[in-house]
Amino acid sequence: MTAVAHTPTTAHHEPMSFWRKYIFSTDHKIIGIQFLFVSLFFLLVGGLLAMQIRWQLGFPGKPLPGGGILPETMVVNGVILPEYYVQLVSMHGTFMVFFAIMPLLVGVYANFLIPLKIGAHDMAFPRINMASFWLALLAGLVMTASFFVPNGPIRSGWTNYAPLAARPDLSGVTVGQMLWCVSIVVLGLSSVLGSLNYITTVINHRAPGMTWFRMPLSVWALFITAILGVLALPVLQGAAIMLLFDNVLGTHFFDPVAGGQALLWQHLFWFFGHPEVYILILPAMGMVSDIIANGSRKPIFGYHSMVFAIIGIAFLGWIVWGHHMFMSGMNPTLGSTFMVSTLLIAVPSAIKVFNWLGTMWRGNLRFHVPMLNAIGFVSMFTIGGLSGIFMAATPVDIPLHDTQFIVAHIHYVLFGGSLFALFAAITYWYPKMFGRMMSHRIGKVHFWLTFVFYNMTFFPMHIIGMGGQMRRIYDPTIYDFLKPQQPLNVFISYSAFALFAVQVLFAFNFLWSLKFGKKAPQNPWDDNGMEWSLPNPAPHGNWERTPNVYRGPYEFSAPEAGDKDFLPQFVKLPTDRDPVPAPLPATH
């Protein structure tokens, strides 16, 4: 497998053992693939938890099919217990945010794409990169282990609001809460190590000619995301350590009974948590930008304003955390401030959406599977962004806060947004990872079915949320005002089961194509990125000699391209001059 292709610029390495090459690898591409498999597994786990949540909400009190295999602490006579239900919602959120979407976007694509797209041989610190992966896996295993300890995993939501999470006597959780805290501290370490690596690599390892404003928007987004990560995760780690101390050592940081402050947890958590939301969407926006430009065969519309919009979102992301706390008893004047900063985020978000539309305007659109999913991303992220305005406007937030409306909103952003972007990205860079193409036909069927069932699942949640259905309640039917809308809950549940079922298509396509997919040509999407100057899959070390970069990343349909409608960054035209190489960083 090693360095089979011999294009003149390809790196050449001695063969390595299976263990060195695929398990304890320092190759950024292999680490990205490791993250991909692990986080797709956790995505499946999170999905299975979601199915149980939907069973309970749609059919409260009815025996869960297959529930017999679960122990009596979770399910009695097939019926989900209230404490298990609360654990389901808590762990669904935890797994999806920390172990599925975040590693899928950052762990996989920051690792895989940054060196390939900036013309680097690897990450700045390859061994730290390996440590980052193994720490993330360890964190995931610790989190999973909490299902198997006495009293099970956390029961305080993925947000772990104190003092519920700080007091085992009130939550009923002992070991599970400690494992959550430990896992998050380890995961935070993994993220910080990864982020430092991405930041250093982008600053120091860009190939000659890869100026800041020649970087693809995917790299810009991943770079800014890494800055958010390195600043946000330590706050969560600190808070998790304090929460652990409250649980284990008898400190009272968050317990007012002994002089602590309950709202302190929320401030710390959301000071991390809101930037985290942008960690979960910015890379998706970046990769979608690359794919839409490719699918439209046009340069991205307003490249510079796209870059500044990413920076603007990231900056505003630090001063909006209080909008999660409008109803918390925080001073209402602070609420006013946070409302204004939150509403302002609509501005850079609108800039991005309109620029994607501008990119497609007068294009020559190719509807390959990544493009379909990218268009799905734009249309669904728009709904998710707009529904956020309802909750940003504080008076309207009063009836909507902590109802299913916010559940709809977060899923329009994280599923309609991030996950559609990931379906696009996985399909798009699959040939670069594995040398084969995923099936277009299955991909298209998967996209359309997912798009339909996804909307049938999450759109009605807005309506039951308007009706007042609170989040995280085990049985909505005990409330008179919620009973009339129970048929909609049943509808949502059936749609969710269908949505889950059609993901089998994706799983099959992904796994089957590993071995039986069509062999990928070198540049299957006629793209401009540096990564397509390499064979598929690219060898360890990427390029034999550092490549030169001659232009920006989006020169589709440029007049100089002649007959073709693309002009890669690595192609030297007779009129191009070689860039002057920057002095190598001291680490080399």
Binding site: V86, P256, Y303, G358, G363, I398, I463, F481, D565
Partner: protein
């Protein structure tokens, strides 16, 4: 099946529902513009042989337009929202003549303390009732919210009122019911395994009914 916000039951419902509708219209327009644009472009600019995309890197004028319009809209929305926000949530907005009741939340019940016949909280004729909130219609009610253990959230959908009860904090919320009848009070903040059943009844009485109820409770002694 209900496709809208719950029926209005307090003075807050007017401005909140109007604002909701206004945002729905604004976001609805934005949504239609984006989605129609998207579908139009998908149909109109699909790849055809021999055609090349229009080579452009963008337009400053377009950027200015779609930066300025959302910015102005959002600032305006923020200013209007803030007016009502202050009216609903600011401590100073609580009418001085408001009738005070104490609501103490604990896993998993609401303990409502009434001022008794003298109309004053914190005196010896106060009495406490579990999971029942009785109020008078068209009278401003100030709820003094406290919590025994963890964070709970006082939520009456018809009143458009939600306010967390936080241990260690004494939080004031107020409302004025506009119609008599029976409503439900739910907990909107996950407070443990019994979160879902932390439910109380809300009774909105006419002034005479309320007086009679207080007299009856005071005579029967507190719970």
């Amino acid at each position: 099946m209900r496709w809208w916000l719950p029926d209005a039951g307090s003075t807050f419902a007017g401005p909140i529902d109007t604002l909701f509708l206004a945002i729905l219209i604004i976001t609805g327009i934005a949504l239609v513009v984006v989605e129609v644009g998207l579908v139009t472009f998908v149909i109109k600019y699909r790849a055809r042989p021999g055609r090349k995309a229009f080579y452009t890197h963008g337009s400053t004028r377009a950027e200015v337009i779609w930066t300025a319009i959302p910015a102005v809209t959002m600032v305006a929305l923020g200013l209007i929202s803030n007016h009502y926000w202050v009216l609903i949530k600011d401590k100073k907005s609580i009418p001085p003549n408001a009738y005070h009741v104490g609501v103490h939340a604990k896993q998993f019940e609401w303990q409502v303390t009434y001022p008794g016949p003298d109309g004053k909280l914190g005196t010896s004729d106060d009495f406490t009732v579990r999971n029942q909130l009785h109020v008078t219609v068209n009278e401003p009610i100030a709820v003094e919210l406290t919590s025994e253990d963890v964070i709970h959230s006082f939520f009456v959908p018809e009143f458009r009122l939600k306010q967390d009860a936080v241990p260690g904090m004494h939080i004031m919320a107020w409302f004025q019911a506009t119609k008599t009848g029976e409503f439900e009070l739910g907990c909107a903040e996950l407070c443990g395994m019994g979160h879902y059943k932390m439910r109380a009844r809300v009774f909105v009485h006419t002034p005479d009914e309320y007086k009679a109820w207080v007299a009856q409770q005071a005579a029967g002694g507190s719970e």
